[in-house]
Symmetry: C2
Subunit: 425 residues, 2 copies
């Protein structure tokens, strides 16, 4: 297979919500409480909501800027690449990267949608969440049919309305929902409680995949307050192993055997080691801990329920058959700093070329698995031959993907430490 | 290579200290303050020290018992296999497992030796630490020359005396010292501070390897208070990735380029993924974080300084060449619950047989690397042909290794959760 022949569906990108987010989908009675963008005196744009100011952090929208300008400072809409928030420009950026389909995680409400929970009046909170989901499904994803996999945010404060919202948006063909990798650090009951029991059957019934994105517990992985921020950057993705271990030992898959969970941005190179550790611990300790996976091993149960996702993962690709070709999907992570945009096809192919994967296996990893797990059918909208990397890039002639320096609004900070950060998302 | 031809040096086992630990090596003026064993009314044996009672936790001494009897309850000397604490019996258990050499981590003082720090009078604390090290080196390791790699505990409360103790015991041919995987959770300055600067050059000068054992930060890996204990059991070893990321981004290797660190019980299957993540983060973010590894990649620096250790690790063995054959050592973990005793040779060989490693590579992993990094020369004491699995097992004829049920002192607890544990070590 050549790079131009690949078909790429990315199950992890991000939308930076545009200022008109709530203009068309929120009943007018809630208009006054909706988050709105304020342009500050320092030149940054922030979302104002209740007593909060939610900045667009630079590191969340760095595609198309040189690494020297990456950072954790707030930014403004005129400093970030328009593809971050403008759907017409986003499609061009996807085409330039040869990407057919994209699932976009939220920025403003957080990965777990918990921003709206700050409202005491839960009717208002629900109205905002619904308006957000309608904007996301009808506008962001609806403008270019067949190009996006819609993803709803949960009304995380109430499992009953979560279930109702999963069912409501499923009627609009949205079959993916975000959920925190661990609810406990958010002050919510853990996966081991029965608190979430109304939510899971709604996902099973509607064929909705539950996307747990790295960092969605809002718990930063820290070693020491004075550790350089690089420690956190390295560890944050790998920390998904905690969610994986928590999930497999929770009652979720036993009680709701049709539930499927994606470990978004979780990577795959650690999976064989993790599964061996999982089975080893089970064999050694089940006699006294009471762990019980019936006639199966925990690794079997894990691979029956969990979808794996990676951006770039050389050793993981080499181990792909050992993991299970049918569980693996790819991600681009546009416009975050780990993104492979605009060279995702080349990066992916380089890793495939170092493996002995066959074309049929590559197709499963790059798009067929994503289509099945996310109930996404782009070929109903676009003939397959128009969906390849080569065909899409041909439509993006003239799209400039060279990094654009925009300068720094704030002086570059030296030696940023973990203690300089506060939890986000 | 056949199982009987292997030579095994285990760089991670554990000693359960016997009651006479402080009888012969502590100046008499400190005798009254030394920890001593008390046989309690409930039948358990505990060490009494100041206002503390330090139990021997069952899970720390389960070799030779059936898994049904594993648990976190306190135990007594007459319930645990004598090889845990009796050096004559230990040698027989090593022989029965075909193990030539063993490095034994402490139990009573904790992996980081911090028990003694509880004494306000630091002269007394130092006296206890020295006595402990003398017992360990002269008695535990000295009784059977050439069979043990001595390991000292640090006077963790004071880097100056730590350095002096490293130099003192080096004169007794002890060239390994424990150090916490992360000092900060112990209330001590992190690896990023200059607090430890007196310690590292002592290690460099004396050729002393620094052993960071999993769990030695005393920080349990928790996801949720009501998570079953299995979650912690699975995650605790994998959590060493945090220490690895912390260490490589600390100034230690830059300031003290001769320092070598062993990630004890850290496993190896996660290493390729970690190193790729490390280099990726560096390439993407160094321009703004200021991370600086000179002309090298962080993975190069890591592999120049870190020694890797595994008990059983099928995928890791398959990836051994990718990791670096010269950095890998093996462990038995006797008498902890992850131990492969008494079938370590068979387990190791099974994994080697599934790889394409050659005999010379297996020799490096099973003993040559350990001999080099730990400055251990068993062949000065025993001819090589007497050191193989087959030769040692021939000396253990009659040693009964079948699991011995001893019953439970306390009723088995159902559904033990993370919240039922308190930090140990």
């Amino acid at each position: 297979m050549q790079v131009d022949d690949m078909i790429l569906v990315s199950v992890d990108d991000h939308v930076v919500e545009p200022p008109d987010l709530f203009d068309r989908h929120l009943p007018s009675k809630y208009r006054d409480i909706a988050p709105h963008v304020v342009h500050k005196e320092d030149g940054t744009d922030v979302w104002q909501f209740l007593e909060f100011e939610v900045p667009n952090i630079g590191l969340n929208a760095v595609a198309g800027r040189p690494p020297e300008e990456y950072g954790i400072d707030p930014t403004s809409f005129d400093e970030i690449r328009p593809g971050c928030f403008d759907i017409e420009k986003r499609i061009l950026d996807m085409n330039a990267n040869g990407v057919l389909g994209s699932l976009c995680f939220p920025s403003l409400p957080g990965f777990a949608g918990r921003l709206f929970a700050a409202l005491d009046d839960k009717d208002s909170a629900l109205a905002l969440a619904r308006a957000y989901n309608d904007w996301h499904i009808d506008e962001w994803c609806g403008t270019f049919p067949g190009r996006f996999i819609p993803l709803s945010v949960p009304t995380i404060w109430d499992p009953e309305t979560m279930a109702a919202e999963v069912r409501r948006v499923a009627k609009k063909r949205c079959h993916a929902v975000t959920f925190p990798e661990n609810p406990e650090p958010l002050g919510l009951p853990s996966l081991h409680s029965d608190h979430w029991d109304p939510f899971w059957p709604a996902c099973s019934d509607e064929g909705t995949i539950v996307c747990m994105h790295i960092g969605s517990s809002s718990k930063l992985v820290t070693t020491a307050a004075d550790a350089p921020i690089d420690v956190m950057i390295v560890l944050q993705p790998m920390n998904i192993v905690q969610a994986a271990a928590d999930l497999i030992h929770s009652p979720v898959f036993r009680k709701f055997p049709e539930v499927t969970v994606a470990l978004s941005e979780g990577g795959i190179g650690w999976i064989p080691y993790f599964l061996e550790r999982l089975d080893h611990s089970y064999r050694v300790h089940k006699a006294w801990t009471g762990a019980d996976f019936g006639t199966k091993l925990p690794s079997d149960v894990f691979l029956e329920h969990v979808v794996l996702c990676y951006i770039s993962d050389p050793v993981g690709v080499q181990l792909a058959r050992r993991i299970g070709i049918d569980r693996i999907t790819v991600e681009v992570d546009y416009p975050h700093s780990d993104t492979t945009w605009p060279r995702a096809p080349e990066r992916l192919m380089e890793e495939f070329a170092s493996s002995d994967l066959r074309d049929g296996e590559i197709d499963r990893i790059t798009h067929l698995n994503a289509m099945r797990f996310f109930r996404y059918d782009p070929f109903a909208h676009h003939p397959r031959e128009r969906c390849t990397v080569g065909a899409l890039r041909a439509e993006a002639i003239g799209v400039d993907t060279t990094p654009v320096p925009r300068g720094r609004r704030f002086p570059q900070r030296q030696g940023i430490k973990i203690s300089d950060l506060s939890p986000t998302a």
